[in-house]
Symmetry: C2
Subunit: 254 residues, 2 copies
């Protein structure tokens, strides 16, 4: 199978860099093809700009998404973005690997999504969620944190990790059709011993061996929602994003 | 009062630019001081780089957060980041205004947070959540979307807006001590008539008049959690991030 790893760490001597090396070796060792987008090494520019469109459809009023669609159709995406989109379309599995910055993607990786998950290619015209243009592919977040697991449990001070990751796992990955695997999280790396970090790297290798076998996270399908995009009566929420629609759950003040 | 608006849209003719103009006029009209960080106009570089630190504490192994703390202490943050941090410390209220990109901040604004919310200045050494270094200030998200409100209700296909915004509202703003106001959302702007957009701009002006009076969102305090950062027995979750800790709520598969 084809695996694309998008990687966002600037230090070749980092724990994240070791995870990346292990991932490449492990996946190749299983016979997969592996490509890596090393965003810092590529000096990837994450900023969406009107000048990304050489021949815009509506030069007087650039809407980024519709110009993406036009550029996809006319083959006029910037060369670096097109190259990334080609990799995205090539892959059977996408791994986003990064150090956790402010409970989400570092800016350089957020901008990779903003630019590469282009309307007209990754989604659009009814292609979203289980009908997304990237359906049939798998995706997984792999990240390191500076916090402890108990902080991100359902009762943790940072909130429930499934809730924290919802906008990425549902809003980016599931939205475009991916089957989303549970994240692989390397917690509180900087508080670990050398041996513990070595173990964490081995754990990642073990995890990656299940990349094409592990059970994806559950989400409701497009068909579970009404024409105005609300859960149909009698349909049970399958994911945390709709948890307040569970019978009897009202939850905290809204 | 002092209001900092951080703004992330590249088009001076956009709906977002109109919202910004209205915000400046409205807030100044109320006697507030207003400063604007127009990230595109400033050509703000959102990428965190090891070269951001001219005299790093540990040049062989750059950890971005601890180098931030060292640079804050030694006054060696990059000039553009220091200028933004000065504005952040100056403000009584922070407004992040942006078009919604992939259920979150555009990369240029995410990187503003990554760089400007520096360890040692915005948080650190026990200063987090209700003890955060920015406590006593207010913050609000103001953003435009391409979706409809029903998509982001508790039973909506995109998931519950409070859950979608959790990593920003709790993880960035509350984490650093802000009192977080409910977001001001301008939904499905591109499907509106000129008159409807005019009304939406007026609605924003009305909303801003309550910037220092409106009730902030509820969150649990640091004191509600145990030493291992879990809700103490008998303490009720006040926000959606800990909703699965509510009695009787187990929720979807975890």
């Amino acid at each position: 199978m084809n695996v694309l790893i998008v990687f966002a760490h600037f230090d070749a001597g980092s724990f994240n860099a070791s995870l990346l090396t292990t991932a490449i070796e492990t996946l190749k060792g299983q016979g997969h093809e592996v490509r890596v987008s090393d965003l810092y090494a590529m000096n990837f520019d994450p900023v969406t700009r009107p000048t990304d469109f050489s021949t815009p459809e509506n030069p007087d009023h650039i809407r980024y998404d519709t110009e993406q669609r036009h550029a996809v159709k006319t083959g006029t995406l910037p060369a670096d973005v097109q190259a990334e989109l080609d990799k995205l379309m090539w892959c059977d599995a996408l791994i986003l690997q990064f150090p956790w910055y402010w409970f989400g993607l570092p800016a350089i990786m957020k901008g990779w999504v903003d630019k590469v998950f282009a309307m007209g290619a990754a989604y659009g015209q009814g292609q979203w969620y289980n009908r997304g243009a990237l359906k049939g592919r798998r995706a997984m977040l792999a990240f390191s944190t500076g916090c402890f697991p108990s902080m991100c449990g359902p009762d943790g001070i940072n909130g429930d990790m499934e809730i924290i990751l919802w906008p990425i796992q549902n809003g980016i990955l599931r939205f475009t059709g991916f089957d989303v695997l549970p994240p692989h999280i390397s917690h509180s790396v900087n508080y670990k011993s050398h041996d513990q970090r070595r173990q964490m790297i081995d754990d990642y290798a073990t995890r990656l061996r299940g990349l094409f076998d592990d059970e994806p996270l559950p989400f409701n399908d497009r068909e579970d929602f009404t024409k105005d995009w609300r859960l149909k009566p009698g349909i049970t929420p399958r994911a945390v994003g709709q948890i307040r629609a569970l019978p009897g759950v009202e939850g905290p003040a809204s």
